[in-house]
Amino acid sequence: MTLASDSRRPALIVETPAPRNGPAAPRRRTRLTRNRWGYAYVAPFFLVFAAFSLYPFLYTAWVSLHQVNLSNLDGGTWVGLDNYTKLLHSQFFWNAARNTLTIGILSTVPQLCMALGLAHLLNYELRGRTFLRVVMLMPYATSIAAATLVFAQLFGRDYGLINSLLEVVGLPRIDWEGGTWTSQLAISAIVTWRWTGYNALIYLAAMQSIPGELYEAAEIDGASRWKQFLHVTIPSLRPTILFTVVVSTIGAVQLFGEPLLFGGRGTTTGGTSGQYQTLGLLMYQQGWSNFHIGQAAATAWAMFLIIVLIVGINALVGRLRSRNDR
């Protein structure tokens, strides 16, 4: 180190590393001390997370093992897994689970397909592209309540716009709210309307990172627009598609606002025969209409486990695919 440097830095770079058998303990302490501020900076998030996510989460688990009423939240009696066995034997749970599944499929699948198509169209050089993008995000910005009320009007039996149109073309009126499939279709339409633009924007962002040369190469290779979409766009979007599927699935399992307000009366029964009662509605009904908080907590945990299961399967599929890719 004859080259006297004006800062310590070059010297540090050249210096041989300190011998390994040196005192390790003080060193670790320095590291912790140095990191203390880091922990302080991330602390607010974890405090809020603990208070509003982790604690309720664990408390719900605890409650689900008790028979608790809204009136005596602290004085429940221990019932073990009773609430869960009851749930699994309850026809209401299975009805709600089935409804959640069908509405989930009816909304998520067309929603993501349409989002892909829309994103593909918006990816072309269009006049007023920014305007169209803003318009697409509008439904996402509307409140569920307002949107659902408007849709309830559209799907109304006697004065609804859709039934009037059906009548004009000579088809019979449909009691949208009364039927199982029709009500679920209508609710799926609301969900789809709200979330398609959001997903389309996510897809669009991912599409814009696909290099243009890939499309040019495909064009020269003789691929039509459709084949380019199939062989260039979709494969490049695979991780993004997986992400939106997971997010939409979580949303679908937790579906609550739309079916609650669709009937127009804000009841948790999900129609006269529960034809569109989702798990979210069932949970609310158990807890706040029937006052069985323990039961509601068990349902909440069941929903959580369903989500974990679906996301887990998704992650597994994604990992297997990427392993095959290697």
């Binding site: 290099p211 040019e216 064009e219 020269i220 290779d221 003789g222 691929a223 695979r238 290697r326």
Partner: protein, 366 residues
């Protein structure tokens, strides 16, 4: 196999001041290897993309063989293109990448497999057919891009700076491989590069473009020996030709304090514009002469390359120190030269090696 013809082909980008490609006229023979070369923004890539069908032709026509393809989509042109960044499909294996065009064309699977295997063998990619592009080195990716082009046996190969993403050593190596491959296949090839060395070594003919206008199209030797204008003279050759503009005087052109002899009638025609003449002489056509005989110069930098040495010199008595333009005249000399920076030398130009240009039009005068 086919000829390629650009017939007054023009491309004007919307809201551009001048055409990106201005009335390009080029006739490329069947099986010829033509290189489009020029500085960035000269329109060489645009010309290639017009031929590929990736760029519109605003005026004029482009023909492949006898067929007018001016408005035909890329897939109907029977061409294959190698992109600068290769544009390999990242989710397909090497084999799938190479066979994709055939698959789209509905060729039988067994036929695709044979053709891909064959191309892979030529390009030394047989062991990598199951790999994905990201698991390959830059040179291997480049070869996959070549393979994707040759499995189709197209009428024309288009290559858009296919070597510029390789490191210097690999570039030289791949350069000869591509030239040999194309020669063996005998396919008409249009090759775009900004590197004049690549252009000179690979092309049967080289077309030099500048600002969208074709400057000259000729064999590498002819471009070097008889550049049509000052731009081509300065662009082709490394180090570049020495170009000096001076007044026409009795018996020649004044350069510094010396007069370079130019034949009478040639001088008269060159000076017809504004009385000034640009003369060019290549570094290798200069030699040292005795003190007081030729052009007096001051050596500023000596570059030793082992096989040669280059002396970067300034005309003696010309202006003050200018770091950005340290030299007026470059001289190739014996590698063991004794010249050192700061030394004064006298230079002569070998007879018949002087290029003469009209300074007002920049055009060559013979």
């Amino acid at each position: 196999m086919a000829t390629v013809t650009f017939d007054q082909a023009t491309r004007i980008y919307p809201r551009a001041e001048r055409p990106a490609v201005d009335a390009l006229d080029l006739a490329i023979a069947d099986g010829e290897f033509l290189v489009l070369v020029g500085p960035s923004g000269c329109g060489k890539s645009t010309s290639l993309r017009m031929l590929a069908g990736l760029e519109e032709v605003d005026a004029g026509a482009v023909r492949i063989g006898e067929r007018d393809v001016t408005d035909a989509p890329p897939k109907d042109r029977d061409i294959a293109m190698v992109f600068q960044n290769y544009a390999l499909y990242p989710h397909m294996t090497v084999g799938e990448n190479m066979g994709f065009a055939l698959k789209l064309a509905g060729v039988r699977k067994s036929e695709i497999a044979t053709r891909v295997t064959e191309a892979a063998k030529i390009l030394d990619l047989s062991d990598y057919l199951e790999r994905r592009p990201k698991a390959l080195s830059g040179g291997q990716r480049q070869r996959v891009a070549m393979g994707r082009a040759i499995v189709r046996s197209p009428q024309v190969f288009l290559m858009d700076e296919p070597l510029s993403n390789l490191d210097a050593k690999l570039r030289v190596q791949t350069r000869t491989q591509i030239a040999a491959l194309v020669q063996r296949l005998g396919t008409t090839t249009v090759y775009v590069t900004h590197d004049q060395v690549e252009a000179m070594t690979m092309g049967d003919r080289v077309a030099v473009l500048k600002d969208g206008v074709l400057q000259q199209c000729d064999t590498p030797g002819a471009l070097y020996d008889r550049p049509a204008n000052v731009f081509v003279a300065g662009f082709i050759g490394s180090p570049a030709m020495n170009l000096v503009t001076g007044d026409a005087v009795d018996g020649g052109v004044r350069v510094g304090s010396a007069v370079l002899p130019v034949p009478r009638d040639q001088l008269d025609r060159a000076a017809a514009g504004n009385g000034r003449v640009t003369v060019g002489f290549r570094p290798e056509s200069m030699h040292q002469v005795g003190p007081g005989e030729g052009i007096p110069v001051l050596v500023t930098v000596v570059e030793q390359l082992g096989s040669d040495a280059y002396l970067y010199t300034k005309l003696a008595g010309e202006g003050a120190d200018d770091v950005l333009h340290p030299s007026d005249v470059v001289v190739r000399t014996d590698p063991r030269t004794a010249a050192t920076a700061g030394q004064q030398l006298w230079l002569g130009v070998r007879e018949g090696a002087l290029h003469v240009f009209d300074a007002s039009t920049s055009q060559r005068v013979d």
